[in-house]
Symmetry: C2
Subunit: 390 residues, 2 copies
Amino acid sequence: MTAEAAGRAARLEFSAAPHLDHIEASRFDRPTLVISRDIVARQYAALAQGLGRARIHYAVKANPAPEILQLLAGFGSHFDAASRAEIDACLAAGAEPQQITFGNTIKRANDIAYAHDLGITHFAADASEELEKIAAHAPGADICLRLLVEFETGADWPLSRKFGCTGDKALMLMNRAKELGLTPMGLSFHVGSQTRDPEMWAETLDGVAAVWHAAELAGHQLTMLNIGGGFPASYGQRLLPPEEYAARVMAQVEARFAHVPQLMAEPGRALVAEAGAIVAEVLLVSRKHSHDLHRWVYLDIGMFSGLAETMGEAIRYPLTTCRDGESTGPCVLAGPSCDSADVLYEKQPVHLPIGLKAGDRVILHATGAYTSTYASVGFNGFPPLDVVVV
Amino acid sequence: MTAEAAGRAARLEFSAAPHLDHIEASRFDRPTLVISRDIVARQYAALAQGLGRARIHYAVKANPAPEILQLLAGFGSHFDAASRAEIDACLAAGAEPQQITFGNTIKRANDIAYAHDLGITHFAADASEELEKIAAHAPGADICLRLLVEFETGADWPLSRKFGCTGDKALMLMNRAKELGLTPMGLSFHVGSQTRDPEMWAETLDGVAAVWHAAELAGHQLTMLNIGGGFPASYGQRLLPPEEYAARVMAQVEARFAHVPQLMAEPGRALVAEAGAIVAEVLLVSRKHSHDLHRWVYLDIGMFSGLAETMGEAIRYPLTTCRDGESTGPCVLAGPSCDSADVLYEKQPVHLPIGLKAGDRVILHATGAYTSTYASVGFNGFPPLDVVVV
C-alpha cells in the first residue's frame, strides 16, 4: 500500500479517535506522542473477549505510561514486566504483586530477589544458569520455561534466536528446576511480533504441544501455558478485528491444550499501537540534484528519537499531512540527526504531497507501541519524545 | 581479529589509561561509561598537530559530556553543533558563539533564529529551502554548502545519501544564497566515519576540488573548506597514529587547496572513542540446546541502552573480561531487553572465556563515542547509560 493509501485508511480507521481530536486542537513545539485511553480500553475489551479464559498480562515494555498502566490495572489486567523498573511502575499503577509476572528470561540476580521479596512468584527462564539465580534469590518460585520457536509465522518484526530453548533442553530444565526446589509450572513461547494471520500459529502450537506431551510423559505436571504476544496492530493494513483474531488463535490453542488449567497471553503492541499518534514537523524538503525525481523529507523525529522500529524498514507507520488531497510524489523519509543511519524509509519510498514544506505538520499513526521508551536521552541534542495521554 | 585478540590489543593500547584504572578500583551497580579527560586531551593534541592550519571543530554529537566540552573549550577548540541543545552545551562549557558552527543541514527555523541571535554566523546547507529558512532567520549568514560524496572510502559506518547535494546543485545553491543576501563561503563534505586509510580521501578530494574550481570559474569567491570528520578511532585495529593520519590527509588537502584561506575539520569519534570504556555485567550465559557449540552471553547493556552502533555489527568494540587468559569459545553477544533485535554480535561471534558466568564484569573498550546519548530513556525499564568523567 502506498503511504497515501495507508494514510487514507488510517484516517478512516481512526476518524473518531480522541487522540487525533486532541492533536487537531493543539499546538506542539516538539515531537509528541498523543495516546488515547479510550482506544486502549477498546482494544483491551476486544482482546479480552477473544482470549476468553486466557488471562491478559500486558507487556509493559510496549508502553509503560503510568496512565495506561492505571487504566489496565483498573480493568483487572495482569502485567508482564521486563525489569525492576517495570515492576515498580506496575505497583505504582495499583497492580498487586500476584498480578505481575517477571517474564524477561535475562534477569539481574538482585532484581530477582527484589521481585521475590515483593511477593512475585512467576518467573520465566530458558537456561540452567537462570534457574540457579532464581533458586538462590526466589526459592520455591514457579517457573515458566520459554521455548525457542523457529517456524515461519510471517511476523513483521523479526524474532531472532535470542529467547527460548529447544524442547529437549526444556525437559532437562524441568528436571533441573525440581532439583533446585523450584516448580516447573509451564511453557511459554512467542510466535513473533505482528503475526497477521491467526492460522500461522498452528505449526508453532503443534511444536509446543509436542513438548508439552513429552513433559507429561516424563512425569511433569504442568499447569500453565503462556501463549505470549504476537497479536497484530494495524499499520494501515486491513486486519481481522482483535476479538476475532484472538478467538481464532484460542480455538487452535483449545484444540491442543483444553486440559490445561491456566492460560495466559502477553499482548503489548495490539493494546497500545493504534491508540497513539506522533505529531511531527517537516524540517526540510530537498532534492539531491536539480532533476531528482525523489524528494528527501526530513522530520523532527527519527530513528533515534522514538522510531527505532523503522530499522530495516520493518514497521511502516501510516502518515497523514496537512496537505493530504494534493497530488503526491515519492519521498525518502529521514530523521533530523546528523547520523546517516537515521533514515526511516528509503528502499520503499513514501508518497507525500508535492507541496509539502518545512513547518508542515505530519502525523505518524499507530505509533503507541515501542516509541516513547525507545527514544534516546538526547542524541544530537534532540530531546526524547514527549508523551500526552488523553 | 577475534575478540580475544582485540581485547589483548585494547589492554596493550590502553594499559596506562586513567579510565581503566578508575574502573579497576570501583564498583558499579549499572552499566557505566567511564571516560578519560587525559586521553581526549592526548587525541586533541595529536590531531591538532597533524591538521596544522585546519582548525578543529569538535563534533559535539560524538559525546556532549560537559567536562569534555569544557576541556576542549579550554584548548581553544571550536565546536560543530547539531541542534539548539548542543549550542547551549557549548556555551555553558565556555565556548564563544564565534567558535560554534551550526553544521546540521536540517535545522528547525526557530533554532536558526536562536543561533543567529547569539551571534553564530556559520550555517551548513544543502538545499534551497534550507537557504530560505536561513535567509529569513539569520539574514546575511555565511553558508557552507555540503556536497554529496559517493566514492568508496572503506568507511566502517555507512554514509547514506542523506546529506549533501551534487556539484551542479551546489553551484545553483551558491547563486541562490547570493540572491537571498547570504554569503556562500565554502564547501563541506564527509568521507564517511571510520575511513581507516588516509589514501582513501584522494578520490573524494578530487571530486570536491572539481566543484571548487567550477565555483571559482562561475565567479564565486569561496574562502573556507570544511573537510568534515571520518578520522578513525581504533577498535582494537592497528591504525596510523592520529597525527600521522591527519598529516597525510592534510598533505592531500594542501595539494589541491593550498590557496584556500580557511580550512576546518570536524573530528568527533577520533577525539573521544578511545578515551572511554563501558563497564558492564554478564546477566546470563546459556546454550539453546544441550550440544550447542555457541553460547549466548547476555550483558546488562545492549543496542537500546548505548550500543546502537553495533547495528548491522558495524562497529565491533574490543572486550575484556575478568576471566581473560582462560580458554575461550564462540559466543553470540546480546543485550538485556526483551527485544529480539537487541543482539550485538551474532553473524561474527565473539570469543569469550569458557568460564564466563552471570555476575562477571565485562569491559567494552573504545566506547567513548556515540554511546551515552544514543541510550534510550528507559526501554524495557532499563536506565540510560551512566557517565563518569575522570
